[in-house]
Amino acid sequence: MKTEIVESEQLQGAKALKLNKRQRLWKDIKAAKYLYMLIVPVMIYILIFRYGPMYGIVIAFKDYKIGDGIWGSVWVGLKHFRRLFNSYDFYQILRNSLMLNVYSLVFQFPVPIILALLLNEVKNRFFKKTVQSILYLPHFLSWVILAGIVIQMTSPSTGIINMIIKSLGGEPIYFMSNKVWWLVIYVVSGIWKEAGWGTIIYLASISNVDAQLYEAAYIDGANKWKQTWHITLPAIKSTIVILLIMSMGSMISVGFEKIYMLSNDYVREVSEVFATYTYRLGIQNVQYSYTSAVGLFQSIVNFVLLAAANYVANRMGEHGIW
């Protein structure tokens, strides 16, 4: 008797399972109705304000006129891309973007790693905390403020740096209007703002290293340098690789604000990058279609570079970002 009932119940259950897949889905949806109340408005927002502009990219293939709207404007195919690739500006901004990023990569990228290694060797906690607090500070300030200070300090007439040069009997240097010096200022100010902040992530991964490794190495006679080289650096290698991939992915993008604040007419030849070019021609000169093409080119190249860097990292046996 009993077993029969159980069996028939199981049978019914199985049937119901098959028959009511749709109903079950509906039940799941109903059970999650409050979750949808939360997420659906967000998704609508994302569709309008994140995907909307992606649809707007089609104006890169059209002659966009405000009166005609995105849909109604005339299709012109690759006209704007042809103009871009044939213009002298293109090679200049491409070169500048790559150059500024390579300089940052060579001179700026290693600084937080070295700083983290040095900070890690500091035993006095108060000293360490104080230095960290000071080094992190510029990260919180905007480029408007920092560039204002930089321009003031490098001013040929009243800046403190040139005051020192003059008092030593030298000629004042026009840091911000000389192309070479401007690049130096660009890199140094980047280090000033972000190098201290960049140490946090490395210090975190250094602190995860097992202390026993150092003790064992010490017993085996490894000095500080050897411990750093054979224990600490391999331990933070994957962090370095991930950050390297991310900076590779933005190899042809340079942040707008830093350039916009530091640059001036004298150095435009080396300071104009995609973002400032887009702003100048797009927003100020109302060449919407052309600058949309510029933006599209840039994001495609970014994506390809990111994928390539990620591929290389995976091949090297490191975990990439996907």
Binding site: F49, R50, G56, F127, V144, G148, T158, K224
Partner: protein
């Protein structure tokens, strides 16, 4: 006796430690010095600045530059705008980030993968400056803070920081609350949010600093002088003073400024002080945020 247990330090290491401390001290000083010099400039007479006497401390103390800032330039008006922009903006950010992270932290509900994918794509690809600008213009949001709030309504990166916090809360909490008749929103507000205070504080500060420092958004979308924000105003004041220095005869607006250098320095300081006031909090919570982000990344 106290040193009995310490590992013996070789001479080479001792030299390294001394050099290390010395180097880091020097680095700290050079990071801080630009700010010190700017403060000194803001409080010095124009004569002292022009002759290069101001190095570390103000020479011929004067608060003239600060007095001028309060009477002209309307920097405090723009600061009030920025406070308003920051308060509302940060509130909206936290609201939407939570609204997005909470459902996505659930193990399953129909359509979750679709939502996650749609969000993930936006991390790798976007419309760019001009199509976004056209969108804002088309829907008539030019010169409205609404444009700024909508465009930065939430950051996917911060959502990714918040989601694992919700995920790691024990499921029993939610189950027992549901048995007592609570729905998902009650669970979120009464249980999840109080338990995530630390990470919520971190994200609030991330967003608030972003709003305080925002420049590009206001540059593109806000042109009404009455609605200008602090960073736009500061840039404008810096540019005007620069012009006054280069071509003193041509500039009408800021002719009254006695010492452009100290005026510039003073406006920089006035804009920096609010950040300095909350810096201890900022540092504490920001460092936490980066740690969390790095573990997940």
């Amino acid at each position: 006796m106290a040193h009995k247990k310490r590992i013996r330090i070789s001479t080479g290491e001792r030299i390294f430690y001394i050099v290390n401390y010395f180097f880091l001290t020097l680095l700290g000083i050079s990071t801080l010095y630009p700010f010190v010099n700017t403060i000194a400039n803001s409080l010095s007479s124009s004569r002292a600045i022009l002759t290069g006497e101001v190095v570390l401390l103000p020479v011929e103390w004067t608060v003239e530059a600060y007095r001028q800032i309060t009477t002209q330039g309307r920097i405090f008006h723009s600061m009030a705008n920025t406070v308003y922009l920051t308060l509302i903006g940060t509130f909206l950010n936290m609201l939407v980030t939570t609204m997005c992270a909470y459902p996505l932290s659930k193990r399953y509900f129909p359509g979750k993968m679709l939502f996650v994918t749609l969000i993930a794509i936006t991390m790798f690809f976007g419309g760019g400056m001009i199509p976004t600008f056209i969108l804002i213009r088309t829907i008539g949001l030019m010169d409205k803070y609404g444009a700024l709030w909508l465009l930065s309504l939430f950051s996917t990166g911060n959502m990714i920081i918040l989601r694992p916090f919700f995920q790691q809360l024990p499921a029993e909490l939610e189950e027992s609350a549901k048995i007592d008749g609570a729905n998902d929103i009650t669970v979120l507000v009464r249980i999840y949010l109080p338990l995530s205070k630390a990470v919520l504080a971190t994200l609030t500060l991330f967003y608030a600093v972003g709003w305080w420092n925002s420049y590009m958004g206001p540059l593109l979308y806000i042109s009404d002088p009455d609605k200008t924000v602090l960073m736009l105003k500061l840039k404008q004041l810096l540019d005007q003073s620069q012009m006054a220095q280069l071509h003193p005869e041509e500039v009408g607006v800021v002719k009254q400024i006695v010492a452009p250098e100290s005026f510039k320095a003073a406006s920089i300081i006035v804009s920096t002080v609010p950040i300095l006031c909350v810096y201890p909090f900022l540092q504490k919570y920001f460092v936490k945020g980066v740690m969390v982000g790095s573990i997940k990344g």
